[in-house]
Symmetry: C2
Subunit: 366 residues, 2 copies
């Protein structure tokens, strides 16, 4: 029989995330509260729905535009950059894989925080690259430690999410800019701003594609409510962007995603409404946690991380007890931060169900 | 600045296909006949449209099922195989890239026909693998030459499309099975059956996932009319399928694609209708070609390849003259077969426009 090459053969059969659909199949019933994947339970813009309806009739029989011209043009206007400073992909996941593939090799180090986004690590392993991790500090990504590791290793890539997933914490734009200045010029910074639209403006550095070693990634999966369509983008120097076009799947960003994203981006009113709904839900989740003796961390995202006050096993028991009671959540897995659970901003009836189940779950977890 | 690794840095800035949207932007006007990408101009099943409408409202805010469970189950029933013998990807393009990544390494050879599907070659180059080509013979992929090259090189992978793109010709299922038997057991055969639903049944080998070195690929982009959604699949031995889950983008098959594909697969009546429309269009294209002194090749696909009787430059001139007259077509590029143009099965008014423009284009091409 044919064999996978030694790299792929050596990889474990793993997946960065188990989908809630699988848990529902195993449980034999749907979750009553879907609060684990940091989706936008409030839905997407009606304009995006209208664009999808039109595309279903007029567009899906055609191959999508491989240059993603209209969406890149809309993003360029939105960001105030040029279209060749933007690469659109099938979600940030897709762009992370391409970035590892392009900007590292089997020798160089790739730096991230222990417990940060696991799909990034999945790609690092999948391409046989070398991962170097630094711990979180005070429930934030440790900028000094990341910069030190990047300098010490002369790293090919350093990954940082701001606001952070899975903790919800964030640094100011000024702190991020100082971090950029502290990196070697040849180290590529991936600044994952998946939650950027939901953060205070002060958390986002000024847009400056003149920084030669920074690529910033954003998505339509979070604030814009289009997670299922798979569309994200990065922006940065045109010279770096050009490398993606040599290896990406040129037809990989589907038609629905291209049309819906343009409409979603244009609907500032819907985004403002979602932002308010997210803020209200964050307060609600924090209050539920506090009332049950859990400590809510500050959040600039569409989820709230709750410190359960003990160790990782304890937090995992709470998670399992909640899952068994129809509440889908996830939790941080890194050392130290694994004492927490992570609850996404859901609809009021979902948070009510979480509130009703949490006391029982805590009791059962011991 | 960060640098792409030596492999990516060495790659040309290329794309396997220029999209018609780009040509339209350059021409300053839309094509009147979109006959170049072998799409299903007849559209998709109304059931698929209904599924997309529902998904736009109820599903797209959620991440898609990373296990693609429902679609794999439907495909398993359809093919009479088990769900773990199926891998779904974001189109065959995505699966071809993964296959090269998994089942070859920098040393081994990969065999294809000179002028066969360029996106496969793009992935081979993108992963730094070694491509070995054999010429077409009598406008068909040369099974004996492909098997000889695979044996001589002890190839990691051999790629064959049946029915063939870009020629439209095909081998019988029996000939394909004999070809399978002639390959080394450790050589993986990718049998690309993108046009399988439009071919005579006799062109498709019996389904037998017990063949340890064969992966067959199919798509919803052709007969099913969902090219823009990006969804294709492969089937073969579970041991080979398992390797894909170690490196694929688990959330890479979007929600719309998953729902629409299930509905499209279930609508056998729509497929039968499209098959009839394709047959009628093939006859129409062949007749137009013959009336203008071009020789139509037999076709088991949704396009007809027309032999223009001279060389590649002549055929390219005809193509350019047609494009300038609002007719989007493409053409084979391999040695010998490049004397042809390729015309997709379009709507009657599109073929009428092709018919009206062809005499002028031939005259202008000289």
């Amino acid at each position: 029989m044919p064999k996978a090459n030694p790299l792929v053969a050596s990889l474990p059969a793993t997946t960065p995330f188990v989908g809630p659909e699988r848990l529902e199949r195993e449980n034999g019933r749907p979750f009553r509260a879907r609060l684990g994947a940091n989706e936008c339970n409030f839905g997407c813009s009606p304009g995006a729905i209208a664009a999808m309806d039109k595309a279903a009739r007029d567009e899906v029989w055609k191959y999508c535009d491989p240059e993603i011209h209209e969406l890149r043009a809309a993003l360029a206007r939105h960001l105030g950059v040029s279209a060749d400073e933007i690469v659109v992909g099938a979600g940030i996941d897709n762009l992370l894989g391409l970035t590892v593939r392009i900007f590292s090799d089997s020798g160089g180090a790739i730096v991230t925080s222990a417990g940060a986004y696991p799909t990034f690590n999945y790609h690092v392993a999948g391409y046989g690259r070398r991962l170097v991790t630094v711990p979180y500090c005070d429930d934030k990504e440790d900028l000094d430690a990341l910069a030190s590791a990047a300098n010490r290793e002369n790293a090919k890539i350093v990954y940082l999410s701001n606001p952070d997933n899975p903790m919800g914490t964030w640094w100011s734009g000024a702190a991020i800019e100082a971090f950029m200045d502290a990196l070697p010029a040849e180290t590529l910074l991936i600044l994952d701003e998946a939650y950027g639209e939901l953060a205070p403006e002060s958390a986002l550095p000024a847009i400056d594609t003149g920084r030669g070693n920074v690529l910033r990634m954003r998505t339509f999966s979070k604030a814009y409510g289009l997670a299922g369509l798979r569309v994200g983008y990065l922006f940065g120097p045109a010279e770096l962007c050009a490398e993606y076009h040599k290896v990406r799947d040129h037809f990989g960003v589907n038609t629905m995603a291209q049309h819906a994203a343009i409409a979603a981006l244009a609907d500032r009113q819907w985004l403002a409404q979602v932002t308010m709904q997210v803020e209200a839900a964050r307060k609600h989740i924090a209050a539920i946690g506090t009332a049950n003796g859990l400590h809510p961390l500050p959040s600039a995202t569409n989820f709230v991380t709750l410190d359960c006050g003990r160790d990782g096993e304890h937090a995992t028991r709470i998670l399992n007890e909640l899952n068994a009671r129809g509440v889908f959540i996830r939790k941080p897995g890194g050392p130290g931060i694994d004492r927490c659970i992570r609850v996404s901003c859901g609809l009021p009836h979902e948070l009510d169900h979480f509130e009703a189940m949490l006391p029982e779950a805590l009791k059962a977890a011991g």
